[in-house]
């Protein structure tokens, strides 16, 4: 028989205001096995933990139940406290009477009754708990960073500077990401390339960093500290070692009609291309869908002009398999498609562009060489209208429910830069709210209004109508003046919502990392573990976790790196001892468990079994404890009840259910 202590936490008034904690103590005292029960204001505090230690020592407790918050919050805290007091940490159970009880109920009587029931269930389970010992697994001292934008580059640099090997996998032909497409950055207006390209060079030159561009993660197996990853290096059709980056192939390529991804389709590129002049690596790829050699078999101009003999039409995709201790996701974002927003005439008029397209137009290396001009006729615009929140903060399913966070600031930047360079151009911004929290952000916005005379109008735009004369008539509302506004414009710029890069879904599935309804990766705790995925060993960097500007992205990238370094610095990790264990006498070798195991942890072995005196050879299931994650899928699948999860055995679960239904 166990000697159980029950500790009921007030959590200040979080629990005690709705649950009569004294009454809970009085009732659970009479539960079988309970020899001690008490309550305290903050059980997780040092004093609270001391109470637990004291009771363990004085009452010789063999198991404890803490009635408090979610185990996700403090299970580890109380397990450590128990361990320090000499108890096996797996003899600790949490009854969640906060999230599951006090926070969701109003009636004190009902909440108290439920708290008692939850405590009873935990007590019933502890009665059947047995001490468990965590195993150990080794840590591969190498990190994988998925995505080579500013987030991925910064994370990789920070990990590498700490002395660990890092691989960056980037799906496009160059690292650099969205930031490489930007012209200037807020709030300091420094040129994006000037602050990004040195970091790109640093990453490329770093002895601890290996960059796989034009590559994608194909398969992930293993677990924290010991991931095995297949990386598909897509056939570049150019030999990375031979190419000198001279660029002649791109000049001579006769297929030049493919819309440039880097310029957001505003200009064309050749079939053999580097996305931009400062690309890293400075080695082109052949887009086989556009290349005449691949399409028709005729051409081969690039091979003829290449002095280095680097062109290799026969090159094939290559799979690289590598082991990693930690994985950082930094897959970034794209702007949403505007098919649901035809009222803004984006698909109807070349002079309606997204803000990211405007970045390319403003950029000296962009399709207009940095001259502000209408894309329809190349004319200098006199009136520009910016429309905020296109697809952001959307209450129906046309767009996104969230604020994209960066648009208010980059629109103020665009407006200011245009007014500065072209004082003859009038700039109007339609907005719902102007949101500028951040260091020197509101000052920046006010400069746009007060010093640069940008005309901000609070109100939404209902229609952008192309006119027969080529101009655009913007129909909006001024909410402060309660007037409809018809404004003739030469260009309209849409602050288009951002969304996680579509590739993230596939990657999240491979990593078993959770994503939310908007495809942003979920952090382990919104406040306390913001850069860690709930999946151990997976960390989050940049916009893949939520909308962010560059300063925030770089900060988070560093935080993700620190978390990864903290993991890589360990030689061994304690493994979760709550793994599946087969009862070989009951196992009939049907393979049902192996078929459902998502981790490939179950194999079969033919063994000599002594079944109550009958000795025979049987095929029985075996669990690899290093691979098993304790998900329990096998235990519910096993038709003969042979599979059990240590720490969550069928008997323990049934005892909990019985206690609840009693």
């Amino acid at each position: 028989m166990q000697r159980i202590g029950v500790f009921v936490c007030h959590c200040g008034s979080n629990i005690a205001a709705t649950v009569d904690v004294k009454k809970v103590v009085e009732i659970v005292k009479n539960e079988p096995g309970v020899v001690h029960a008490e309550d305290y204001q903050y059980m997780c505090s040092e004093a609270g933990q001391a109470l637990i230690a004291k009771a363990i020592a004085e009452k010789n407790l063999t198991g404890i139940v803490v009635c408090s918050c979610s185990p996700r919050m403090h299970e580890a805290t109380f397990r450590k406290a128990a361990e320090r007091a000499g108890l096996n940490p797996y003899m600790v159970e949490i009854a969640n009477i906060r999230e599951h009880c006090s926070w969701i109920h109003k009636n004190i009587e009902e909440a108290t009754e439920k708290a008692v029931i939850l405590a009873r269930a935990a007590i019933a389970k502890v009665n059947l708990n047995a001490p468990l010992k965590a195993g150990e697994s080794r840590v591969t001292k190498r990190a994988l960073v998925i995505g080579g934008g500013i987030a991925g580059i910064q994370t990789a640099l920070d990990i590498a500077d700490a002395g660990y090997e890092v691989d960056i996998v980037e799906k496009t032909p160059s690292i650099g990401g969205r930031m490489s497409q930007l012209d200037k950055t807020f709030p300091t207006l420094d040129c994006s390339a000037c602050i990004l390209t040195p970091k790109m060079v640093e990453a490329a030159a770093h002895e601890k960093i290996t960059i796989y561009t034009y590559s994608e993660v194909e398969k992930v197996s293993g677990f924290v500290g010991d991931f095995t990853v297949d990386i598909r290096k897509k056939a570049r059709s150019v030999d990375m070692d031979k190419c000198t980056g001279c660029g002649v192939c791109q000049e001579k390529c006769p297929s030049k009609k493919t819309p440039s991804e880097f310029n957001r389709g505003l200009g064309n590129r050749s079939a053999i291309y580097t996305p931009f002049a400062q690309a890293i690596p400075n080695v082109p790829v052949i887009d086989r869908d556009a290349c005449l050699k691949f399409k028709t078999g005729k051409c081969g101009v690039c091979a003829k002009v290449c002095q280095a003999g680097a062109i290799d039409y026969e090159q094939k995709d290559e799979i690289v398999t590598e082991k990693y201790g930690a994985i950082v996701v930094a897959t970034g974002f794209d702007t949403i498609k505007l098919d649901n927003y035809d009222e803004y005439a984006y698909n109807q008029s070349k002079d309606v562009i997204t803000s990211l397209e405007l970045e390319r137009v403003m950029n000296a290396a962009g399709p207009t060489k940095g001259h502000l001009e209408r894309l329809s006729d190349g004319k200098h615009p006199k009136e520009i209208v910016f429309i905020q929140c296109v697809g952001s903060r959307c209450s129906d399913d046309r767009g996104k429910p969230y604020c994209s966070k960066i648009c208010c600031m980059y629109t103020a930047k665009h407006a200011m830069l245009i007014r500065d360079k072209y004082p003859d151009v009038n700039v109007t911004v339609f907005y719902i709210d102007v949101r500028t929290p951040g260091k020197n952000f509101d000052e920046f916005y006010r400069r746009a209004v007060e010093d640069y005379g940008v005309n901000y109008i609070k109100g939404q735009v209902g229609k952008v109508a192309p006119q027969p004369d080529g101009s655009l008539l913007v129909q909006g509302v001024d909410l402060l003046d309660n007037k409809q506004i018809l404004k003739k414009a030469d260009m309209v710029v849409l602050a288009t919502a951002i969304e996680p890069d579509p590739s993230v879904r596939k990657i999240a599935t491979m990593l078993t990392a959770s994503i939310d309804t908007n495809n942003f990766l979920t952090e382990s705790h919104a406040k306390l573990r913001p850069v860690e995925s709930p999946t151990a060993g997976v960390f989050l960097s940049g916009v893949c976790q939520g909308p962010k500007d560059i300063p925030e992205t770089v900060a988070q990238a560093g935080a993700a790196a620190v978390k990864a370094i903290g993991l890589l610095a360990k030689d061994k990790l304690l493994t979760n001892p709550c793994t599946a264990k087969p009862d070989e006498l009951l196992c009939n070798g049907c393979s049902a468990c192996a078929n459902v195991c998502p981790y490939g942890a179950i194999t079969y072995e033919v063994k000599l079994i002594n079944d109550h005196g009958i000795r025979e050879e049987r095929r029985v299931a075996q669990v690899n404890n290093a691979l098993c994650q304790g998900c329990g899928a096998c235990t519910v699948t096993c038709p003969s009840g042979a599979m059990d999860l240590q720490g969550f055995s069928n008997r323990q679960i049934i005892a909990e259910v019985d206690a609840i239904c009693r």
Binding site: A345, Q348, V464, Q467, P468
Partner: protein, 264 residues
């Protein structure tokens, strides 16, 4: 093929031409519009009050009549189509309205949105098919530049009307193409003509219609076609500019239905 047909009041008065030409074209295309007996005015405006039941009953009667005949219900007037389609959606999806409307109706079998409501244009697109229509055109309207005017009632609310993309519709342009003419796309084709505001704020309705007509004309349209008698009325009241006709008038012309034929 027979369809139950709800003409609506306007098609019996100022919009007779829409009714007459639609029936003739239907016959030429091999389907028949069977007018519902004792139909009543749809109300003209969809009642937005969630507790408003009485004004929905006319639509429910028409819908149930079609259901009893096992026919789809075809409309022509945009306003009637709008009201009936939305009431049908209510009967299908809003428990409270369905229960209360059926309590009034006392039908043998309660009505629960079973009837499919089709606008005449949808019949052309989805049942006849624009390719078939094109094949039946004997008098293609070659060289004619025609602007489609949708108005608001056919398109919105987009999810319930499920007619076309409300911000960038194409069905009437496809129809114009099937007749052999050239559609002129202009941005105000889905903007409001003013609707009933023309009763007490004539100038406002006129300025709204002016903008629509000027925009279409600016992009090269020689004529506008519409499915809505109220739009037709408002647009033509804004004097000058290009003519506005019912889409069915052009349909008859393209199908070679002559004035004599029409007289039958």
């Amino acid at each position: 093929m027979k369809y139950s047909y709800f003409p609506g009041c306007t098609l019996k008065t100022t919009g007779k031409e829409l009714d007459r030409t639609a029936r003739l074209a239907a016959l030429a295309l091999g389907f028949e519009l069977e007018e519902i007996e004792n139909w009543q005015c749809c109300g003209g405006v969809y009642p937005l009050g969630s507790d408003e039941i009485a004004t929905k009953l006319s639509s429910v009667r028409a819908l149930n009549s079609a259901k009893e005949k096992g026919q789809d219900l075809v409309t022509l007037c945009s306003a009637c189509h709008h009201v009936i389609k939305r009431v049908n959606d209510d009967m299908k999806n809003v428990d409270d309205i369905r229960t209360r409307a059926n309590n009034y109706m006392k039908l043998d079998e309660p009505y629960a949105g079973e009837t499919e409501v089709l606008h005449f244009l949808e019949v052309l697109r989805d049942r006849v098919g624009f390719d078939t229509l094109k094949a039946k055109v004997t008098n293609p309207l070659k060289g004619r530049k025609i602007g489609a005017y949708y108005g608001c009632l056919l398109l919105r609310p987009g999810k319930i009307m499920a007619f076309d993309n409300p911000e960038n519709p194409t069905i009437i342009e496809d129809f114009i193409r099937a007749l052999g003419a050239e559609p002129v796309v202009y941005p105000y084709r889905n903007e409001c003509c003013g609707g009933y505001i023309s009763l007490n704020e004539k100038d406002m309705a006129k300025s709204m219609c002016r903008r629509i007509k000027d925009s279409a004309e600016g992009f090269g349209a020689e004529m506008l076609i519409t499915a809505c008698p109220l739009c037709e009325y408002n647009l033509n009241k804004a004097e000058g500019g290009i003519p506005v006709r019912y889409f069915t008038e052009l349909l008859c012309e393209a199908l070679g239905i002559t004035e004599e034929g029409m007289a039958l």
